[in-house]
């Protein structure tokens, strides 16, 4: 226990932040996408440490199983000749760095200055059944809206990415 934090938490957060930094600094796009996957896995482990089993497994299933593969496919489909013809970092990179450092310092100042020392809560007894019941009772409206949103996004993504050579053909 270092600073009152468990060793597992420290290792997992180092893994997560290292993955995010690698995604920021690497030149090769596919390496960036793979380190993004490492970040997602680290975040899933952090959710599991917060006793959010469903969210952790859903994170692995959706982000690593679908979004990471989507990103990788998009990278492969948009490669030119394989060699990047432009520089990796934008010309205004310093401004971006300063802004994000400012955001981080503001957020961490807010966290450190304002968290009172509260007692540790007991582990909430959360089963997947409770989540299902909540989804069907209190949260049924957001559930339906998300369903419509996902359908619209699916159709929209297909239409946006469809090749235009289908003018003279059937479907």
């Amino acid at each position: 226990m270092i600073f009152g934090l468990s060793l597992v938490f420290i290792l997992t957060s180092i893994l997560t932040v290292a993955g995010a930094l690698a995604a920021a600094l690497l030149r090769n796009l596919v390496h960036c996408a793979l380190s993004l996957t490492v970040t997602f896995a680290g975040l899933a482990l952090l959710y599991l440490q917060l006793d959010a089993q469903f969210a952790g497994f859903a994170q692995i299933l959706i982000y690593i199983g679908a979004v990471a593969i989507l990103v990788v496919f998009a990278i492969l489909l948009t490669r030119g000749s394989g060699i990047p013809e432009h520089r990796s970092f934008s010309s205004s990179w310093l401004a971006g760095l300063v802004i994000s450092a400012g955001v981080f310092s503001l957020l961490s100042w807010a966290v450190i200055e304002s968290i009172p020392a509260s007692a540790a809560r007991a582990t909430p007894q959360l089963t997947v059944q409770k989540i299902g019941q909540a989804l069907m009772s209190s949260y049924v409206l957001p559930l339906e809206i998300v369903a419509v949103l996902l359908t619209v996004a699916l159709i929209g993504a297909v239409i946006v990415a469809m090749p235009e050579s289908s003018k003279g053909g059937a479907k």
Partner: protein, 103 residues
């Protein structure tokens, strides 16, 4: 340092790194990766506050995080579809060259 503060600082760090990626890299797909990182950091915040907050049995934080995961996945799909469509006509994904919306 309480566990809650530690989780929030990790989330702030991942958020800042995601913001840095979106602001400094030139490839459109990397900007989308940065956006995904920011959304994930916000999810971590939500779950941390759900766990250490006053009413974890109300499941508010957990539900919010689950819906956020779903919406982020949909947005990633549409964003990457846009990047692919742009590449098909202009053969580039360089953000500094995407100065016009025509075509």
């Amino acid at each position: 340092m309480t566990p809650l503060a530690a989780f929030l600082i990790v989330a702030a760090l991942v958020f800042a790194i995601g913001l840095a990626i979106s602001l400094t890299r030139r490839n459109a797909i990397l900007v989308l990766i940065g956006i995904e990182l920011m959304l994930n950091a916000a999810n971590l915040n939500l779950i941390a506050f759900w766990r250490f907050g006053p009413h974890p049995e109300a499941l508010t934080g957990m539900m919010f995080a689950i819906f956020s995961i779903a919406v982020a996945a949909a947005e990633a799909a549409v964003g990457l579809g846009l990047a692919i469509a742009y590449h098909r006509s202009k053969k580039t994904t360089d953000l500094d060259a995407m100065t016009r919306m025509k075509g």
